[in-house]
Symmetry: C2
Subunit: 376 residues, 2 copies
Amino acid sequence: MTGIGATRPLPIAVDTMGGDHAPEEVIAGAVDAFREHGVGLVLVGQAPRIRQELDRHGFVGKIPIVHADEALDMGEGALASWRKPRSSIAIACHLVRQGRASALVSAGSTAGVVATSRLRLKGQQGVMRPAIAVTLPTRPRPTILLDAGATADVKPEGLVQFAALGTAYAQILLGGEDRSYRPTVGLLNIGAEPGKGDKLTKRAHELLAGGGHGIEFAGNVEGHDLLSGRVDVVVADGFTGNIALKTMEGTIRTAFTEVRDAMSGGAAARMGALLQRRRMRELRDRLDPDTYGGGVLLGLNGTVVIAHGASRARAITSACELADRLAAGRIVERIRDQVALTRTSRFGRRTHGERDTPTDDGAAAATERKDTPPVA
Amino acid sequence: MTGIGATRPLPIAVDTMGGDHAPEEVIAGAVDAFREHGVGLVLVGQAPRIRQELDRHGFVGKIPIVHADEALDMGEGALASWRKPRSSIAIACHLVRQGRASALVSAGSTAGVVATSRLRLKGQQGVMRPAIAVTLPTRPRPTILLDAGATADVKPEGLVQFAALGTAYAQILLGGEDRSYRPTVGLLNIGAEPGKGDKLTKRAHELLAGGGHGIEFAGNVEGHDLLSGRVDVVVADGFTGNIALKTMEGTIRTAFTEVRDAMSGGAAARMGALLQRRRMRELRDRLDPDTYGGGVLLGLNGTVVIAHGASRARAITSACELADRLAAGRIVERIRDQVALTRTSRFGRRTHGERDTPTDDGAAAATERKDTPPVA
């Protein structure tokens, strides 16, 4: 590590205007993260509205506010990031760039958050394309799937980089303090054998199986392995990962609707349902994407936690905790180190405009700079 | 229709040597299809072994047998189709080519069945690549997903053809006698809006939305629409379709395992589980891929029903019935007509070696020829 970063912990910037239940539920969740878990925060959005909500919780003056004039609508996509340079999410990115926040949390539309973050935070040096990592509710511990939709078209070398991003992320999320922890990585494919797949995954398998990239590659995994817990990290292009994630979410919802219908039909079944309602509710909560959901955008100069659009206070609290944990784990630096390993292997491909000395102090400063001028 | 085909119904060729429970369960299922549903059959495989099984059921001499020396192992992939020209699946294909069977059923390894069928039956005139259609257990009526894994790399024009294949298939499966029935077709994608997707789906959306192809295009659908019943047919490339299908199957299995665990924990829950065991079992059966599973390989000169490798007798009976129904519905001719519509539209692309008059008698004969020499 060449870390020269801040020694006092920076706050998490929370976009209070993104999400179906903004700002009430977003601010309620942020207050809980601050009160219950000691997460340092800065709230971004319409200042009078934020003050009004903080007043309800009795926290006016205890959590800093940064005003933003505009908000991205939930229906707005990538173009809005150019049209609205003063949106709450753009201002939150700005705080991260300026070194006034360590990461940001938003429940805004995924397309809008991803586009704005890419525009304002820029890609992390050496990383070709960003990826969204989501945490699947496997047991005994979660499986990380990436990319869940940030980059639809990707090259084989990009998939190898996603494996590096996922490795760095899993080390913090699953490995805790154990720096020697090496998460296993599977390639999402349509068959277990090495020769299976489309052109993209066949080539990516060759690169990953070739070694020399610091990734603990466990081979191909299939769709039914996503919830089996077979590997710690599952890598896919953003198109495939998004299809898999939404298929899983839809299937879980359908299965529970059907189970509920089956349990509510007939007197005996109704009686049975009553007797086990609580356990079923716990199970549904664990598997419900609104509870476990959301993702983390990796590969930019700053970490962006994207909560589900339907997030209630509890989900926002979890998102703030996750952002805090990733910032404390120095995720940006870990990704830089992990990606550097993939580039020293024989298939390495340099990104455009990259300098020849990617691990010098300049590179470190790029991830931790404190004096960058505003981007807007 | 220019049909000049056979007037008496041809039998279905059943590969008795493919599947985890071959030949016992395969033959038991075939006998049931013959006895209970009047499906005409010819059994292909080790003749003495078939006779022995038929004897157990009291059907020796009632169902014709065609001997085959070899069988593809469940682990064997595409190469085996060249190495084993006398395999039971190759012989079954041969019967279809010769006009001695109208379709075939196999529970062999999907890769082996697909490769052998492509080699022996050849692509249907005008169809660029074949696709596997599977039937998803939506309600009130099923949704058809294709391609579930026959063609991993496909062009946008190929996706439009898959939409035509799926339309022809759905007309027979869902439309019954109603020839005016137009199934709705959705494109599996990562967003509902037209501009969403990777390069492949963006272009395919343009082609499908452009019209002039006889397809009732309903726009993009997402992973969570697969079980919602929003459209009759969902189109994807074979890589994406396979990932979605296996993700769905794995998620259903995980959800039911978890539900069972939740129901068996604690005295009250156990009591509840007892009271509703039957309804839960019915539900699980409906959603279990071993029950509804299997697929149909479309786009070749003959229809191939691929039953799940784990098929028991009941699944084989269903597969024989399905093959019989598709043959009676003249699926090959319907696909020819439907694909011809896509090629008259402005983006049309001809396949290699195609004649200028694709709907003349020669084309009809290609799908129904009776005098083709053996392929082996």
